[in-house]
């Protein structure tokens, strides 16, 4: 059975929701296809239980040899936003112009100034807390005031200029971490996406095909004509569509095109993620009082921008307010025979003098990082998506090394010594694969180069990756696309 729909949006994450929101606000009709279930109270469910287990939500990637990476995304209404930590900076102006400025890879077909009004709109939609930061021109118009600087920000920030508030969607608390007597879950960010979802769910013209996978796009000439769907129970259907917006992430958007045999341009190529490391930096003095309003409140751009980007990756540094996770140190000390007050004093001293900083580093776009279809199939009968992602390259590694070296140098007045170095949470930023640009898959308006009614948005549209967290830019691109579709009647 087929239904005719004005716009079909595939994926209900931040991208899909914000495109839909613009269209609905203009009185248009939107159907969202989502593999997961629609739970508008998902922010009350623990993270690990937000995806209902069905054949449609079984994660459908396989890893090529040597490509182990824990790709993180969510199959639920709200998408990967339900897993988001809420860190919400923009990209740097230079991130859009790496070819023009440094001769690197490619420029984006749009610049920071083009995106600025949409950044403002996205930040309002996501309730971002932020304030003026020297890295981001025009960053004086956030809907919520910036998080107050934490003790770590106050101590480290003056030595790590340019330093300023980290834009973040996490709710600001009088105290973070919350009191030990407090009940309930940690600070929740999924509520920001779900607030948009709740608004849409009540709107005229909005509908959701939940528990349904978009299997393939059918085309005729230069248009997509229908979306083939498979429900969790195996039922096949199709939706006739005047316009289709693929708003999933870098793996899923590419996989949809590949399953549909739409291989125009570098579909699936140039998959990107960030390199994350976490450094424990021991200081010669305590940082207290510990006051913080949320998990991360400050952002350093000391290693973000410079001509050296021709040889090493840009990096941003974020003090981590919860501080050192004591448990491993505690286990070691107890095993070594430390006991009682002496043990506790040792842990208190260690905790108060150790700054934990999170470092996100830009990696280079590489052609040997890509997704393709596997010969194996998932429970819906669709090919698995095979991901090839060789480990961090020299460009990113040099970026990490420079931060390690420079951090001790910059923080020398505090007697800083790096005593711990861990890999951070890889795999959450699924970028590239359908990038925008003349040699990419979509144009500057995110329209497919050949199919006039197909648009691809989300992280897949990024031509290069920056060092900064992508969600706000993903959201700004979605708002921009939504308004373009409304304005141009595209």
């Amino acid at each position: 059975m087929s239904d005719a729909v004005e716009t079909v949006v595939i994926g209900s994450g931040i991208s899909g929701l914000l495109v839909a929101r613009e269209l609905i606000a203009a009185g248009q009709e939107v159907t969202v296809i989502e593999r997961g279930r629609m739970r508008l109270d998902a922010d009350t469910i623990p993270h690990g239980q937000r995806e209902e287990r069905t054949p449609a939500t079984e994660h459908n990637t396989e890893t090529a040899p040597g490509s182990e990476r824990p790709w993180k995304y969510g199959y639920a209404f709200g998408g990967s936003a339900l897993l988001w930590a809420g860190v919400a900076p923009r990209l740097l102006p230079s991130d859009f112009e790496l070819q023009s400025r440094y001769g690197l890879w490619r420029d984006w077909p749009i610049g920071y100034d083009d995106l600025l009004p949409f950044y403002h709109a996205a930040e309002r939609a996501l309730d971002v807390s932020g304030g003026p930061h020297p890295l981001f021109p025009g960053s004086d118009d956030y809907p919520i005031p910036p998080p107050p600087p934490s003790s770590a920000d106050r101590l480290l920030g003056p030595l790590l200029e340019p330093f300023g508030p980290l834009p973040i969607t996490r709710r600001l608390e009088p105290e973070y971490p919350p009191s030990i007597e407090a009940e309930g879950p940690d600070v929740e960010t999924a509520g920001n996406a779900l607030a948009i979802a709740r608004e849409l769910a009540a709107a005229d013209g909005f509908s959701v095909r939940e528990g349904t996978a978009a299997a393939r796009l059918r085309t005729a000439g230069d248009r997509v004509t229908e979306v083939e769907c498979i429900a969790a129970d195996g039922t096949h259907s199709s939706i006739l569509a005047r316009r289709v917006v693929a708003a999933a992430h870098g793996i899923e958007n590419a996989a949809l095109l590949l399953r549909s045999d739409l291989r125009d341009g570098p579909v699936g190529r140039w998959l990107g993620d960030h390199t994350h490391v976490v450094l424990d930096v021991e200081l010669d003095r305590p940082m207290g009082p510990w006051g913080a309003s949320t998990r991360d409140t400050g952002l350093s751009g000391t290693w973000a921008e410079g001509d050296w980007r021709v040889e090493r990756g840009s990096a941003v540094v974020i003090p981590f307010n919860p501080g050192l996770l004591l448990r491993d140190r505690l286990v070691g000390a107890v095993a070594d025979g430390a006991r009682g007050d002496a043990l506790r004093d040792e842990m208190t001293d260690l905790f108060t003098r150790t700054a934990v900083v999170y470092v996100s580093v830009e990696d280079e776009p590489r052609e040997d990082r890509f997704v393709e279809l596997s010969s194996r199939k998932d429970r819906l009968g669709l090919p698995l998506t095979r991901v090839s992602y060789p480990p961090d390259g020299e460009y990113a590694i040099r970026g990490v090394q420079e931060v390690r070296r420079g951090l001790e140098e910059r923080l020398a007045p505090l007697g800083a010594k790096i005593v711990g170095n861990r890999i951070g949470g890889h795999g959450g930023h699924l970028l590239g694969t359908c990038f925008m640009g003349p040699d990419g898959v979509v144009d500057e308006n995110l329209r497919h180069h050949r199919l006039e009614n197909l648009y691809l948005t989300g992280g897949s549209a990024f031509p290069t990756y920056s060092a900064l967290h992508p969600t706000t830019t993903i959201a700004a691109l979605a708002v921009r696309l939504g308004r373009h579709l409304v304005r141009d009647g595209a």
């Binding site: 003026p132 934490s150 006051g291 286990v331 107890v334 006991r339 043990l343 506790r344």
Partner: protein, 94 residues
């Protein structure tokens, strides 16, 4: 009695360890916590110090992870005061 021993080893007051044990019990259940406590107490008993360090760590870790799993418990354990004066919170950029 065992909570008293745990408190003594970790340098916590009985009230503090009681609170941490209560939180851990709510997550793990009474039996899961009791097994961890037993392993911890055995590994930290004075007579068993001759066990290889690796084994001591393996026995100590489950209870420590249960009691001090994350930031909130860190703050209690490390005796860190959380909140500066409200006046300090009105600032913008750091």
């Amino acid at each position: 009695m065992s909570s008293k021993r745990v408190a003594k080893v970790l340098g916590l007051s009985e009230d503090e360890v009681g609170l941490l044990l209560k939180r851990a019990r709510a997550k793990l259940g009474g039996r899961g916590l009791a097994i961890r406590e037993l392993a911890f107490l055995l590994a930290t008993a004075p007579g068993l110090r001759l066990l290889p360090r690796r084994l001591r760590e393996a026995a100590i870790r489950p209870l420590v992870y249960a009691l001090v799993p994350g930031p909130t418990e860190n703050l209690l354990y490390a005796r860190v005061s959380r909140t500066p004066a409200a006046a300090e919170r009105s600032g913008g950029s750091a």
